[in-house]
Subunit: 202 residues, 2 copies
DNA sequence: CCAAATGTTAACAATTTTGTTAACTTTGTC
DNA sequence: GACAAAGTTAACAAAATTGTTAACATTTGG
């Protein structure tokens, strides 16, 4: 008996659309109808493939968490020159956030719903963080290329600067009176500006 | 005819509770029933004082926007030593965010609902930003106390570092395996760490 | 090509949430 | 203390949203 092949075309389209609605458009209150409409499918298909609205949400949440883990895994373990690694992290992270500005907002909003199960951070990631990566950071501190900060706060600040500007996109646009184009441009420039702030030599 | 005095005790209690639910607990999907329960009032009173759920949301949103404006106004116009001003901004901002971690999340989520009216950033604030405050920042850059960054990105980075760690509180706690106490402690230490990162002298 | 499995749809039912109304209570004022 | 205004409540009505079902369509394997 061959493995049952479900119609991934539709199932995947629904999930992708849900991500688009939640992560890109920031419609955290979106109904199943709205998602079905944008996906161009009958709403009942959401129940057919995902049983319930909640299970769709959980699947999307799982995917989002996975992508969070992936990006941190790369940062903590890649065997590259430290500065190059940070540059790449900033670059991919800003590009990712530009496509999905509200991914973390969605994750956080879902985590705050009483019923949500708190996901666990993979142990091997925390080991890499506390061990090898922390060594790298502190070596840079001793060299004087980084300010004297703890590894934990270095990571927090790095995540802050690469995530917040897109997470708070409407606020940033409002403060600086940016249209979409100006905002995009400011975002690209931000990459260099973060590097200048973090690293101590010219 | 004297001005009509409505029962501000109840009206205010409802609004305060709504802020607590949205900004502190992060229940962005909260129903009017949940708010009424936590406020200890009959749900119909929400309609009595605010007409509709949406109008309550809008009032809370307005208050949130005002507090955002206030904090920026202070940063842009206070006549203090630059470093002292930044220190104070970080301090009050982190304390505020610790009490209301999800204020900006709520604002952003509401701004992304199609029907919301985009609020305008007060002109006098943008003037102060582009004029006097920008002068201050660039003077510090010339002195070498700040890295060579644009005023815009300086502000964005500052807001990022003071807002994100609380905005993403569940994620931060998860990554570093913090309980509530450890998280609080990390937050207090963050203030100094941000200053070390921003300013160039020891 | 036929039959079983899978996919899709519209209609319906159940649930959740919001808004309204009318009766009742409290408060302030004369 | 009587009266009017404001405040409060439970019950009801309306709307929005989700979940289910049964009929229909399409695909797939023999």
């Amino acid at each position: 008996m061959a493995t049952k092949e479900r119609n991934l075309q539709t199932e995947e389209r629904i999930k992708q659309t849900a991500k688009q609605v939640f992560f890109a458009q920031g419609h955290l209150h979106a109904t199943t109808q709205e998602i079905a409409d944008q996906a161009g499918v009958n709403r009942a298909l959401i129940n057919y493939y995902f049983r319930s609205r909640d299970l769709l949400f959980q699947q999307v949440l799982q995917d989002a968490m996975s992508s969070l883990y992936d990006k941190l895994h790369l940062l903590f373990t890649a065997k590259m020159d430290f500065r190059a690694k940070i540059e790449e992290f900033i670059d991919t992270e800003i590009n990712r956030m530009a496509a999905y500005p509200y991914l973390e907002t969605f994750v956080i909003a879902e985590l705050n719903r009483g019923d949500a199960l708190a996901p666990r951070f993979p142990d091997h990631l925390r080991q890499a963080l506390l061990g090898p990566f922390s060594e790298e950071v502190q070596a840079e501190v001793r060299k004087g290329t980084l300010a004297a900060v703890t590894t934990e706060h270095f990571i927090i600040n790095l995540m802050s600067m690469t995530a917040y500007p897109m997470l708070a996109k409407p606020i940033v646009k409002m403060i600086f009176n940016h249209d979409e184009a100006a905002y995009e441009q400011s975002l690209q420039a931000l990459k260099q500006q973060i590097l200048r702030l973090i690293f101590r030599q010219e």
